[in-house]
Amino acid sequence: MTDYLLLLVGTVLVNNFVLVKFLGLCPFMGVSSKTETAIGMSYATTFVMTLASLLSYLVKTYVLSPLGLDYLTTMTFILVIAVVVQFTEMVVHKTSANLYRSLGIFLPLITTNCAVLGVALLNMYEQHNFLESIIYGFSAALGFSLVLVMFSAMREKLANADVPNPFKGSAIAMITAGLMSLAFMGFTGLVKF
């Protein structure tokens, strides 16, 4: 139990996917201008990441490994992720038309969010078991959501701030992201593996 908890805290804070591993930066910069959209994106990504890491574990362990097709993992994982994202898109379209519209192109682009493929591949390299894979996927998404929502809240404040002309727009967002990353690096050593 403690191991799982440590894995969760470790992935959310210490090895945060966005700010420490630098995965999934595209939606991090792209969908973070409004907190509302960021929260929607967080839900969608959490769903996709958890389901994708679960499915890719099953496919890898019960289909690819027994047949000796380990070299096909990346391709198969992309297939799995694409399916999960398509499925999520349908569910979001059905349940919340507003969210569907505000996420726009970023919803299908979760497919190419490298954090999702990253979770699936890291699960494989670190030889996580079934439960660990799910927790790792979920906590990676949780870390992504936490950072995304925090960052979008900051950007909303920045929109009204008196930013010097050369730093306006993306520049100040990049600097903010860098400073956040710096802060998250400070968590290193919080959890001893």
Binding site: V59, L69, F87, V91, A97
Partner: protein, 192 residues
């Protein structure tokens, strides 16, 4: 041999996922466009066509697909604000081409001139004109939305738009009524 197995495995996995997605697309099918429905509810339903679309519903669908939100003249700034809220976009001033005098008007048929051609009856989107062939027509003032679509088809120009003055009879009390909630009565010893 291994290559054939690999191709087979990927193919089968793809097939299974494809079937899953096919099932999901049937199960989660979206009936119509929910956004267009919501927009349609905001529009004034005058069916006047001043936006360039044949009615409020087609305009709602067009807005849902990215048409400009500021084309509804009868709705005015209020409607634009509501649409902007729903769409999550900036409020825009009413489009100049569609800006018209917004004071309430009704159609009036100058009955001496009417030849009973029924052309205005066919043009009226809300069936506010009554009359029959070669009979004098007239307008039901309460039904008329003042869209002036009947003015153009009239061959003898006997229809004019007359402003209606606000009286106590036609004043619209746009009060947001307080919804009544039926509370469950906790009957003591008495079956309801």
């Amino acid at each position: 041999m291994t290559i054939i197995i690999a191709i087979l495995v990927i193919g089968i996995i793809g097939l299974i996922f494809g079937a899953l997605l096919g099932y999901a697309s049937v199960k989660f099918k979206v009936e119509g466009d929910p956004l267009a429905e919501q927009l349609d509810a905001l529009l004034p339903q005058t069916q006047c066509g001043q936006c360039g679309y044949p009615g409020c519903k087609p305009y709602a669908e067009a807005v849902a697909n990215g048409e400009a939100i500021n084309k509804c003249a009868p709705g005015g700034d209020d409607t634009i604000k509501k649409i902007a809220d729903l769409m999550g976009v900036e409020v825009q001033p009413l489009d100049g081409n569609h800006e018209t005098d917004n004071s309430p008007k009704v159609a009036f048929i100058i009955e001496e001139d009417c030849i009973g051609c029924t052309k205005c009856i066919q043009a009226c989107p809300v069936d506010a004109i009554i009359g029959a062939t070669k009979q004098m027509h007239t307008v039901i003032i309460d039904e008329c939305t003042g869209c002036d679509l009947c003015v153009a088809p009239c061959p003898v120009d006997c229809i004019e738009m007359r402003p209606i003055s606000q009286t106590t009879r036609n004043w619209q009390w746009d009060l947001n009524s307080i919804p009544l909630v039926q509370l469950e009565t906790t009957s003591q010893g008495k079956e309801v």
